[in-house]
């Protein structure tokens, strides 16, 4: 496949960084997000391994199989996102819409399962006030869930735009930009799932 016309038609100012400005902007934002999540994960590591009181085994508090399935759902939505991007690049509007819708459903399912998990945990008496583990668990997964929620809302907007034909004719940059955010949120979850649930 050859590079779409839009890349060749890129204004000279956008050639400096070698990528279109929307993408560069998203990456710079994601880089700041790396620092944000590092602060959360770093605090967790320090609080957990630097403590003097015992830390509950996550496995005994959290439902690992359900969350593993939810992790898998998020990974699947990342694949559908990348499929949507590939469809946008080859100007395949039908598949673009279909894969974007799949991604919205996947992301919304993830948030739904997480909300159910919270309700279940709260009913069991595991609250943000339940010691350091409760506080850090809800802070980290809560901030991540907030990111996914923002992603789903943005993705709905992008899907509406796709249905209006805004990404037709090689104008796929918007899809690529939201895709980068989406994959980043997936990437963060891969790390969080391991650190908070499995270890």
């Amino acid at each position: 496949m050859t590079a779409p016309a839009a890349v060749e038609a890129m204004p000279a100012a956008e050639r400096g960084a070698g990528v279109h400005t929307q993408k560069l902007g998203m990456w710079v934002f994601l880089v700041s997000e790396v620092m944000f999540f590092t602060a959360l994960i770093g605090s967790y590591i320090i609080l957990r391994w630097g403590r003097s009181s015992p830390w509950p085994e996550p496995r005994t508090v959290l439902a690992i199989p359900v969350t593993a399935l939810n992790t898998f759902i998020l990974i699947c939505s990342s694949v559908s996102m990348v499929k949507a991007y590939a469809a946008a690049v080859r100007d395949d509007q039908k598949h673009l819409k279909r894969w974007l819708l799949t991604t919205v459903v996947g992301g919304a399912t993830f948030v739904g399962v997480q909300a159910r998990e919270y309700m279940h945990l709260i009913a069991k008496g595991f609250l943000p006030s339940s010691g350091l583990f409760g506080a850090t668990f809800y802070t980290m997964t809560g901030f991540h869930g907030f990111h996914v929620t923002c992603g789903v809302i943005s993705m709905i907007w992008v899907t509406i735009r796709a249905f209006r034909g805004k990404y037709a004719g090689g104008k796929y940059q918007g899809v690529e930009t939201i895709g980068l955010y989406w994959h980043f949120v997936d990437l963060v979850w891969i790390i969080l799932f391991t650190i908070v649930y499995l270890i």
């Binding site: 990456w27 590092t38 593993a68 590939a86 994959h183």
Partner: protein
């Protein structure tokens, strides 16, 4: 050929790898290996998965070098952030 690879890596293969790695993670947790080995394996698997997402789904493998530097820049800073705080926490 290069352009074709650039535009469409085998996403289904990456997806399958991520699914398998997630199952391996679960196996490691329930296998009851020594604690230290479990932790090291899980961190290794998580980084492997994260790398797959960044390289293929986020297309870092196919981006210009300059963008790669932008992306890699915060990683040493992130490590410094964590190690400095650990150091401050340990020192009375």
């Amino acid at each position: 050929m290069e352009a074709a690879e650039h535009n469409a890596p085998n996403y289904v293969a990456v997806w399958a790898a991520l699914a398998v790695l997630t199952m391996v993670e679960l196996a490691v947790v329930y296998l009851g290996l020594p604690r230290r080995l479990t932790v090291i394996s899980l961190i290794f698997l998580a980084l492997w998965k994260a790398l797959l997402v960044a390289l293929y789904f986020m297309h870092l493998k196919f981006e210009p070098k300059r963008l790669l530097y932008v992306v890699l820049a915060p990683l040493p800073l992130a490590l410094i952030l964590v190690f400095t705080v650990i150091h401050g926490f340990r020192t009375p």
